[in-house]
Amino acid sequence: MPTTTKTDASLKQLAKSMRLEIIRMIEAAGSGHPGGSLSVIDILIVLYWKFLKHDPKNPNWAQRDRFILSKGHACPALYAVMAHRGYFPKEDLLGLRKLSSPLQGHPDRLRLPGVEFSTGSLGQGLSVGLGMAAAAKLDKKTWKTVVVLGDGELQEGQCWEAFMAAPKFMLDNLIAIVDYNGGQIDGQVKDVMDIDPLVDKLKAFNWDVQRVDGHNMDAVEKALDKAWAAKNSRPQVIVADTIKGKGVSFMEHNIAWHGNAPKKEDADKACLEIQNDR
């Protein structure tokens, strides 16, 4: 049965349990990317509980909305969401990055049904989203394509080729979301290679741009409502201001936790903080 659960089912509560799972699965894996997973999780929950039509029992359902996590390194967040939506048992989350696990270090569509596109090589997801949105237009289908990008990812030239192309093909059924957490491996995005003024750039590329607090689920929902309703031939992008490592004080804004797995002591500390909902 295709699902869009319209209940509010305490999405905040869900976010809390998924943050715990993100920490525990990366701890168990011994490697992974907590910072960007914690920054994007609230956005993914809003998408998977309020917007995306999909069917975990039939992942290839033809009428589903398409979702691409272009910043593939944040897949622990995607896996937590997919487990909660019933794509696979939650126990499997602890298999992350282990031999023969469908939960690869970066998402693999052929190993994990429900993943639309295998990502991890940054810069490719938006182009693929363009192709999906263009196919929907050709076939006069109403399903949407949503692509979540990282901010550092926007340093890849291919992203801008895609930003340039989408308005030409009048893809108002394409929604990009930038997880603007400000950090990347070598430091602050603004120091490594500044992408600002991002909103102006995207506007100049003829996209409809909204900017929201990416941890305010109501604000994210409102922005997505607007983007979802677009019928003006213009592609839609939401720049979501987020905090890298959101929810764990010692990880927040701390580049050291971009691609570093917590050891048990840190993981316990992080989980205690999340549970106490500081």
């Binding site: 398409r66 991890g120 490719q124 182009s127 949105a133 895609a162």
Partner: protein, 314 residues
């Protein structure tokens, strides 16, 4: 004997196939006049995507179209496609998307435009990609059949085509077989072991035939075979021919490292066959001149190929 560039044969066959298959879409990067997709875009403008000079996005967009049920055919010069090999690696090969990469103006055969426009390393790079298929037909009838096969096949395919006109080397009843090397010429008097078997692919194929006929007139027995599928490679076919050959001469308009010549060496070495292999092709970049002049300069002309069949091997 007619002569047609394989890019022309591709453009015609694509148009024909598109009439019967509404899922076929075409993407171009500002070279549709050269890659011969203009007839398609005139007939089916709704199914054509002009992507501008932005090949990475073209590859990714094709992947998205393929994952939504389309059969995207994307074209550019071979050199510009292979320049995006990491995008092809992930968006085409790793994701196993049903996209058809068509690289035209292969090798030094492009001629006057010079080195920066010459796809000379494309086969080597594509050959290392899992799930990839590489086709290089030699004439019109073979291109027609290879294109039809490509469009029906599920999975990424790289089709390598010439700028220059290619004379017919197959008869009208020719049946192309995917994954098989076909013999174009057997010497009229066959000794226990032929002097050489020339295995050629793409642009140099007609010169290989000319070389064999030249040698036949001088009393040498030389066989010519055409390798139109470079991946998967017909290693068994090579081994069979190696069994009754004094040497194998592999000829390609491509760098000798990683292309046809390398595939031939692998096939022979892995079977422990004691047959020497001469690899003909480039180990350098090219330069500007006519295709014929360049084939002469870089050792792909009929006399050069004939010489390679006879000269002492150190």
């Amino acid at each position: 004997m007619t002569a047609k560039a394989t890019r022309e044969s591709f453009g015609e066959t694509l148009l024909e196939a598109a009439e019967n298959n509404p899922d076929i879409v075409v993407l171009d990067a500002d070279l549709s006049k050269s890659t011969m997709t203009q007839p398609f875009l005139k007939k089916f403008p709704q199914r054509h995507f002009e992507m501008g000079i932005a090949e990475q996005n073209m590859v990714g967009m094709a992947a998205g179209l393929a994952l939504s049920g389309k059969v995207p055919v994307l074209t550019s010069f071979a050199c510009f496609l292979i320049g995006r090999v990491e995008t092809i690696r992930v968006s085409a090969a790793y994701n196993q998307t049903n996209i058809k990469l068509v690289g035209t103006h292969a090798g030094i055969g492009i001629g006057e435009d010079g080195t920066s426009q010459m796809g000379l390393e494309d086969v080597a790079a594509m050959r290392a990609l899992p799930h990839m298929t590489i086709l290089q037909p030699a004439d019109h009838i073979e291109t027609q059949q290879a294109v039809r096969w490509m469009l029906a096949h599920q999975g990424p395919v790289y089709l390598r085509l010439t700028r220059q006109k290619m004379p017919d080397v197959h008869g009208p009843g020719y049946q192309w077989r995917h994954g098989k090397i076909d013999v174009l010429f057997e010497p009229s008097k066959k000794p226990a072991k032929v002097q050489a078997t020339i295995i050629a692919s793409g642009g140099p194929v007609p010169y290989a035939l000319e070389a064999a006929k030249l040698l036949e007139s001088k009393g040498f027995a030389v066989r010519v075979a055409n390798a139109s599928t470079l991946l998967p490679f017909d290693a068994d076919g090579v081994a069979r021919m190696a069994a009754d050959s004094q040497r194998i001469v592999a000829v390609e308009d491509h760098n000798i490292h990683g292309g046809l010549g390398s595939a031939v060496c692998e096939a022979i070495a892995e079977r422990g066959l004691a047959v020497p292999v001469v690899r003909m092709g480039l180990s350098s970049f090219g330069e500007s001149a006519s295709a014929e002049q360049l084939y002469e300069r870089y050792g792909l002309s009929a006399p050069s190929i004939a010489e390679a069949c006879l000269k002492n091997i150190a």
